[in-house]
Symmetry: C2
Subunit: 228 residues, 2 copies
């Protein structure tokens, strides 16, 4: 499904350059559930942004379904981002003026789903993360963990084939974290959705079958692990 070859990402700001990723090479098969771990600043979110077509490599290549993103048109990239890939951002990125339900519906609006279908699927997604009773709250009327769960619901709402979750449980207590991870694994096992998550929590990493570790922009580990 995904293939990364000799990927590098260098940020240039004024006189300073930061090499956030260097010589990253790996492949992910459809239906895999992989966890990415590593110290703060090691390049995890940078890698996730490239996998989600929100950022481009400075060097190297990234192929989705065998096609290089370097050759895709803007419209094709938008199509990928809008529907096939569900993204949970590290900082949630909810629209402050929309309710939880409306936030979950946003990706479906871009795909042109009719209102009734959007509403049904949004409420179902909120129910799966335990927040149907907060559907009409604005983000400012939600706790930190509730905002994070709305972001998870939003990522699931278009039935994506790839879920990229950047620290989906960082603001959640252990019980809620486990239920979110069980939900992700369920989707992965039942519908074959590929899941790549970034986490700082060893327990959350056990829900995947593969572990990749980053350090200073490089891959230092990449192997199968026993699923919990």
């Amino acid at each position: 499904l995904l293939e990364v070859r000799d990927l590098s990402r260098v940020y240039v700001s004024g006189q300073q350059t930061v090499t956030a990723l260097r010589d990253i090479t790996f492949a992910v098969d459809p239906g895999e559930f992989m966890s990415i771990m590593g110290p703060s600043g090691s390049g995890k979110s940078t890698l996730m942004n490239i996998l989600g077509c929100l950022d481009h490599p400075t060097d190297g290549d990234y192929l989705i379904g065998g096609r290089s993103v370097l050759n895709l048109k803007t419209s094709e990239l938008a199509e990928l981002r809008g529907g096939k890939i569900g993204f949970v951002f590290q900082t949630f990125n909810l629209i402050p003026t929309l309710t939880a339900q409306a936030n979950v519906e946003v990706p479906m609006m871009y795909r042109g789903h009719p209102a009734r279908i959007r509403r049904e699927r949004a409420l179902k997604a909120l129910e799966r993360v335990g927040l149907e009773h907060r559907a009409d709250h604005l983000p400012s009327q939600l706790s930190g963990g509730e905002q994070q769960r709305v972001a998870v619901a939003r990522a699931l709402s278009t039935d994506p084939s790839l879920i990229l979750a950047d620290e989906p449980t960082g603001n959640l207590d252990s019980e809620t974290s486990r239920s979110i991870m069980k939900l992700l694994r369920q989707i992965n096992e039942n519908t074959g959705v590929t899941v790549i998550q970034v986490t700082h929590d060893d327990d959350m990493a056990t829900y995947g079958e593969r572990l990749m570790a980053l350090q200073d922009g490089r891959i230092t580990e990449d192997h199968q692990v026993d699923t919990a």
Copy 2:
């Protein structure tokens, strides 16, 4: 130092009311280090906002240094918020147009510290959280954990007598989390600063000497614990 009596906080939005806190009663002595834990949505951030004078009770009272916040003038509340209380927000709340260093200097600007003093203290605070090499980056040029650490540095920069940290390590790997917690405990032990932290992490809670648990807006536990 702090006293909370029969505190309640009810949110009213349209037809719905949410009782985020009910009948909260406790006191905190100067120099204590307390951790608050509890499920997502249990009222922790709501309580922290009231302790930090960013929100008011719907019922009950909150006294700082023996004086009820209900009787304080706006200027006195601003004085408390601006200098005596250092706050680490759950969602960091950095100013996007300011560099890491400038963000750390903001509370000191409100207190009228001269530029040279501000710069010195800001760089020292960034050094203590391991980010002196990111002083000139904007928040958008920082990783999630780096943004969180800038927020911690900002909270420390005015030498506050009370630090309120709402999940200060939620986005940090275990090693960086431990160094932040050691820093907080150092400040607490060396200078007698009162520290109240919200955390979802049992390990991080062991850095305090007291543990309070919230559930559905009520206190369900409040006792001394062995410090790690």
